[in-house]
């Protein structure tokens, strides 16, 4: 939150900027994500998300949407049609639910963002049939969402910062656990001690929101 003016509303261009940042972060950490997925899964999470976010940013460039909801919708649709795998369905569902929650509003304030995040998080739980403690990206999203709700009164920048801090903490907290959903669950106890790739990429996303607020 080092900015001169506090960012208190997310417009379409702001959400677009966050997704651009996310695309760059995924590209930068692609090999890390893939290596994490090689250890507990099938080694494609970095490639998957990189392919999808490139496609999403291309689409945002081609036809810039004019509401936050439209941005979420476009990104969600591109992910659904280019990623495949668990993360394609989960990120896709999350952003499509976010789009629905954001509706046609031209901007999102603290409450609006928290509501969007809540619905997106529920979308992940429903699509993934997962719960807190399963050691998936859902643990990161639900922690971020709870923190956002708790920080509601302090404004958007505080909400985004709180979500990011909670996401980071949640991702780290998962490491010793045993995975109960997704490919890592096939490993049983052998999944303990490994970072969850989807949790790490989700953490990157929340960091990008916070970075936007702090810019």
């Amino acid at each position: 939150m080092g900015g001169v003016t506090m960012a208190e509303r997310l417009a379409a261009t702001d959400v677009t900027a966050v997704f651009r940042g996310f695309q760059q972060a995924v590209q930068r950490d692609r090999d890390l994500l893939t290596d994490l997925d090689t250890a507990v899964g099938d080694g494609d999470h970095g490639t998957n998300l990189d392919r999808g976010m490139r496609a999403a940013v291309e689409a945002l460039d081609a036809t810039p949407p004019d509401t936050p909801g439209a941005v979420f919708n476009l990104v969600g649709r591109r992910l659904v049609s280019t990623v495949g795998g668990a993360s394609g369905a989960l990120y896709g569902t999350a952003f499509l639910r976010a789009a629905k929650a954001a509706g046609a509003a031209p901007e999102l304030d603290a409450a609006g963002f928290a509501a969007v995040l809540r619905d997106a998080t529920t979308g992940i739980a429903e699509r993934g049939k997962c719960a807190a403690g399963d050691k998936t990206m859902y643990d990161v999203w639900t922690a971020a969402s709870a923190a956002a709700d708790a920080a509601l009164g302090d404004g958007l920048a505080a909400v985004l910062a709180a979500a990011s801090i909670a996401a980071d903490a949640a991702e780290q907290q998962l490491v010793p656990w045993q995975a109960r959903r997704g490919r890592a669950s096939y490993l049983g106890e052998r999944s303990e001690g490994h970072r969850d790739p989807g949790a790490v990429s989700s953490r990157l996303l929340f960091d990008c929101f916070a970075a936007w607020a702090a810019a």
Binding site: G84, G128, L187
Partner: protein, 334 residues
């Protein structure tokens, strides 16, 4: 590691082009989104059968598209389940109005993407029934996990559903038969060496010279247990014991179908050696191997290993297994 590729990025698309070029009488390759359909689909008054999954398991699924088996297959990127778009487009292309059975291996990614497609299709009045395949006894089955992986039984489900659809069974009937095959099948695989991931040129896991992965999956994920290397007969016995022990009491009697699939680099010699022991082991348990399929039908890139599947037959399943099939990888009676 050297492989017969041009570039890691084009492996799937070039292989699909190759399949389409060499089977023009059988297959139609669609782009954006990608799927492979029978040239003669939709087939009037017949239920369609669609499957799909990550690539790298060839000939599954594209090699099973054709009369008597799949109406269409949706190949994802390597080891990555197809997108919901692919599934939706494939079903729209082959559904004849009688509904479509989706054969889905139980992986989070596959389940979710097929589910999204089914939702989109349902909203549009296209009826689907999903047959979930979860036969891998290496994975603990529990409601607190994602459940078992789908492996070898997938091929058997696709064959039986395709045969049922071809003879004119209804959507509910085809799905019921598919579920019956899934319910009566158990599988286990083991690997001496992991496959080579095209993108990195590295094996997805490394094994010392005296160890194997027992209960391995088909996506380069390590198995449930790392064990000392043994002569192959001992490994087959161990796999058979796990498979047989997993059937519900009373189910495993009479005639069975044995499916032995090489996982990529197992030679026909090796597959036959495995099959020999597996037949004898089943025999020893008083079971009759009334049908069998031995070869590399479901692979995991160039993994060195095999997967064994036992399906408890009944009269109807045996009949549907024997029914004519004409696909690139499986063909008889046609």
């Amino acid at each position: 590691m050297k492989r017969l590729y041009n570039s890691p990025d084009t492996v799937v698309s070039e292989a699909l082009e190759g399949m389409a070029l060499t089977h023009p009488e059988l297959l139609r390759l669609a782009h954006d989104p990608t799927y492979v359909a029978r040239v003669d689909a939709p087939v009037a008054d017949r239920v369609a059968v669609v499957s799909g999954g990550g690539s790298g398991h060839e000939p599954m699924h594209v090699g099973f598209v054709g009369p008597g088996m799949l109406s269409a297959a949706c190949p994802g990127e390597l080891f990555t389940s197809p997108t919901a778009d692919q599934v939706e487009a494939a079903v729209r292309a082959v559904d004849a109005g009688a509904g479509t059975v989706l054969v889905v291996k139980n992986y989070s990614g596959d389940v979710m993407n097929f589910e999204m497609a089914a939702e989109l299709l349902a909203a549009d009045g296209v009826e689907t029934e999903t047959v979930l395949v979860a036969d891998d006894v290496a994975v603990e089955d529990s409601t607190y996990t994602s459940g078992r992986r789908g492996v070898g039984a997938t091929v058997l489900v696709e064959k039986v559903c395709g045969a049922a659809a071809a003879r004119g069974d209804s959507l509910a009937q085809v799905a019921e038969l598919g579920r019956r095959v899934a319910a009566r099948s158990r599988s286990l695989g083991f690997a001496l060496r992991a496959g080579t991931v095209p993108a990195t040129g590295r094996r997805s896991f490394e094994l010392p010279d005296d160890e194997i992965e027992f209960g391995v999956g088909i996506h380069g994920e390590p198995g449930r247990e790392r064990r000392p290397m043994e002569p192959v007969d001992a490994l087959v016995d161990r796999a058979m014991a796990a498979i047989c022990a997993d059937f519900d009491p009373g189910v495993l009697t009479g005639e069975v179908l044995l499916f032995v699939t090489g996982l990529g680099s197992a030679t026909p010699l090796e597959c036959s050696i495995v099959a020999r022991r597996a037949v004898r082991e089943l025999d020893r348990r008083g079971l009759r191997v009334a049908r069998n399929l031995v070869g590399s039908y479901m692979t995991s890139l160039d993994m060195l290993g095999v997967s064994l599947t036992v399906l408890v037959l009944d009269e109807q399943l045996a009949e549907l297994w024997d029914a004519p099939v004409h696909t690139a990888a499986l063909r008889w009676g046609a």
